[in-house]
Amino acid sequence: MKVLSGKARERLLYLISPIALIALWQVLLMLGVGDRRFIPAPSDIAQRFVKLVASGELAWHVGVTLYRVALGYVIGAVPAVAIGLLMAMFKPVRIFFDPLIAALFPIPKIALMPLLLLAFGFGDASKVALVAIAVFFPVIVNTYVGASNIEKIYWDVAKNYGASQMVMFTRVVFFGALPMIFAGLRIALAVSFIVLVASEFVATKSGIGYLIWNSWELLQVDIMFVGIVTIGIIGLITSAVFQEIERRAVPWRTE
């Protein structure tokens, strides 16, 4: 048998702790430690998971949640990157946005949910808006920090070689800030799921957050766990996809 490469072996080793935890959980419940009505065993959750997948119910909720996250994410991130770069390039832009960011960033975004329900109603719009707002702040702050930390020599080179403001923006400042922009986008990805699932606890009949909250109210604890596990899986997949995008988009980064 061919021996596994170092990297593959390392990946397998990463599975030891989660598998051990799940196994321990299963064994303890089978031994009668804990009440299975409140704490379902991994096998119960798996069974329920399969049923929900088969009925298409889970896919529906996942789809709704992903749609809201994706839309809100783009609506929040694109202007955040643009304004963050402009802040580093032009002092008046910086002076205008600095106090706004300082004042609004620390507000827990979920606290805005009632306000957004009032403004956008009970449909998708209020959730999308919440995600967009939550995404906006970490992305703009990271973009600005990244762009203002671009070494002076690159500004000098660009100026000496005749770069217009447009070239500055698209070819120099954007790429110079890109590693930090990705750092902001990564934080924003986690934040967007956090606020969205929380917002889905109320005022909606769809999405993973609704699935979790509704099953809690009906004391269907196994469905609740299916929802939680599903978010974990989505998080894992999106962050892996994200890493791959980042690797391709920032080929100059020395590791």
């Binding site: 020599i153 690159y154 000098d156 080179v157 000496n160 110079g176 890109l178 100059w252």
Partner: protein
């Protein structure tokens, strides 16, 4: 190449630069007068803090003088100047060829023409094979060669070089000095070359300007009489080279000592 077409003429009159720092007013440059002929290679040496980089930055349009004037005559040159920086200043996110073409892209040179000119410039510095590499994949010498190509490709009336070879090891420096002289002898652009090495100034330049520190003034301008084309290795071993080197060092020594004394005081 059109050797007949000589570079820009530069006339610097009474140039001064002051700025206010934490310690009060600093006179970086004081009454600099220097006339540079078209196609001349002028080297500037001086102790650190003598304002030689400031002078170059003013010529490059990256800083503004506080007094005096600079007149640059570059008839027939689309681009007045291009600077080669000490730490290459290649954009890490662009490949070598994109970096080299940067000054053409910003000026809206058509893609086909740009490709031809970038090809020629890469060939000139021997980096054709590395055109798709990123700067971090290159050695220090290759990075500096790319930066030199980026400046030459824009075909500027004058080249401003701020210790472009200072960060290289001795062997690479010797090789690049020879290459630089070869390229310059083909193109005869006006070059202003900052260095802290007297030897380098004598090997490359037609004249050496010695500057003093705080305030930055021109102390002496020395003609470098060696004929061209120059063979740098043979030249550096000649007795005349040694004599001139000693003469400049004696001019510079007082200044370096004085600057040191002030630092210690």
């Amino acid at each position: 190449m059109a050797v007949e077409r000589r570079g820009a003429a530069i006339d610097i009159v009474g140039l001064g630069k002051e700025y206010v720092s934490g310690q009060g007013r600093v006179v970086a440059l004081d009454d600099i007068n220097l006339r540079i002929a078209p196609g001349e290679f002028v080297c500037i040496v001086g102790p650190s803090g003598c304002g030689k980089s400031t002078l170059l930055r003013i010529l490059a349009g990256l800083a503004k003088e506080t007094s005096g004037t600079i007149k640059v005559e570059a008839p027939g040159w689309a681009i007045e100047n291009a600077m080669v920086f000490q730490e290459s200043g290649l954009f890490p996110w662009m490949s070598v060829e994109t970096n080299v073409g940067f000054g053409l892209m910003t000026r809206g040179v058509p893609a086909a023409e740009m490709a031809t000119r970038v090809d020629a410039a890469l060939k000139l510095v021997g980096l054709t094979k590395f055109r798709r590499h990123y700067p971090h994949q290159l050695s220090g010498g290759m990075r500096q060669r790319s930066a030199i190509a980026r400046a030459f490709v824009t075909d500027p009336g004058m080249l401003l070089m701020d210790e472009p070879l200072a960060a290289l090891d001795a062997q690479n420096r010797v090789i690049l000095q020879a290459e630089l002289v070869r390229i310059w002898e083909q193109t005869r652009k006006t070059v202003i070359y900052i260095t802290h090495s007297i030897e380098e100034a004598l090997l490359l330049g037609d004249r050496t300007v010695v500057m003093t520190a705080q305030p930055g003034r021109i102390k002496e301008i020395i003609d470098v009489p060696f004929p061209r084309p120059r063979d740098l290795i043979t030249l550096s071993a000649s007795p005349e080279f040694g004599r001139l080197k000693l003469a400049i060092w004696q001019v510079l020594e007082d200044e370096v000592m004085r600057a040191r004394g002030e630092e210690e005081a």
